[in-house]
Amino acid sequence: MRSRTGKPSKVDEQFDEAELVGGLAAGDERCLAALYDRYGSAALGLAFKICGNRTIAEDIVQEAFLALWQRPDRFDAKRGSAGAFLMGIVHHKAVDAVRREESVHRREDNFAGGAPEFSEDEVVDAAWISMRRQKVLAALRQLSDVQREALELAYLQGLTYSDVAARLNIPLGTAKTRMRDGMIRMRALLSQSEGTGSYDS
């Protein structure tokens, strides 16, 4: 996977993603800095969305980047993109933090009114990050409402499928199925739009 936008950011012009991760493995700190410049704001956005606390979110992002720095071999470019890999670490750590810390402020009103929780930007990103976001949001819009709702509850609130079932008052199997079908659909939609320039519906 590589950046595929027409307007690469400054970092993109300097480094290919595989080079960045290769540089990490070689212990090149500039590559870590470049990855932070590229993904830091998106990573912080995700951590904050899940845990709702800026200090904790920053700690999570710090841990995630350091985890990648310490064990760059855990990332395998053949199996996915560095950005998604990093967001995966952030997600895992944020969900851990939320489940550990009852005191962490969590916004219960997130899902009122059925408005999509994955939402548009407040911060100006590098063009290609915002393009990636648009692509994911476009794919999410193509899910059924119940699939999207299940993914949002699980992914952004850090709920297990059994929590999701309880929250929506649906059977466990139904919660699992909605999440699984939603993921399968997302996977197909995202790989479909791979490499294409524009996909606004």
Binding site: E29, F85, M87, F118, V123, L151, Y155, M183
Partner: protein, 255 residues
Amino acid sequence: MTHDELKGLVPVFALDALTPADEEELVAHLKVCRECSRLLDDHRETAGMLGFAASSQRAPADLRDRIMSQASRTAQMRATSAPVQQQRSSPPPWRWHWAGLAAACILALVAGGLAFLRIDSQTEPLTQQQIVIARQREVLDLISSPDSIMLSMVPTPASRGAEGKAFISDTEGSAAVVVSGLDPPGDDVYTLWLIAEYDPKPVTDFVPEDGLALLPVEAPVRPDMTLAVTREPDPGRSSPAGPVIMSAYRPEDLA
């Protein structure tokens, strides 16, 4: 859980949304199933992409500074290495506890004549059994040797309280697994597997005696390999079908 059920959990796992019990069972399965591991790679990529849908927060410069300064300290730690590995090797009393269990296995084998390698011994002459005993005495040496690496076998819910340790000798190019507290398998057997790159190879089928088994592994257990015990409906299988009872992964940095 059936294979289809486990496979159905993979996308949910990628969302970090499994219950702890399901997660434990799936993680054990992933170690032996290449199909599900590949599926997980795909779903992890998708789940990671979902992260980009959350609104960004401006990444502050001081956070960048903190990460960079900690990274340079971490890099130095990595360069001089050692203390991390030291922590992982186990205190001697544990080793002797397991050596004691292994010795008990050998005594049972000698005294009972017929022991935990029952499947082999039913079809093989007594001399074979004596060879087995001799081999297992070597294993006892391996276990008590301070040069060998000891790894805990991580139990799954299916272990029902069983425990195990793997002892790996790089100088001998061999290993041993000692398991205790296993339920009698009834009509099933237990199988020990050595797994490299999601490719499980059977080491031995076994039936524990009083819950105990001592299992020699006559092959090098290299970094990034996994030893796993499963419960199988029949002996002699070339790939695992039953649930994983316990497994030990040898990390890459535990050289």
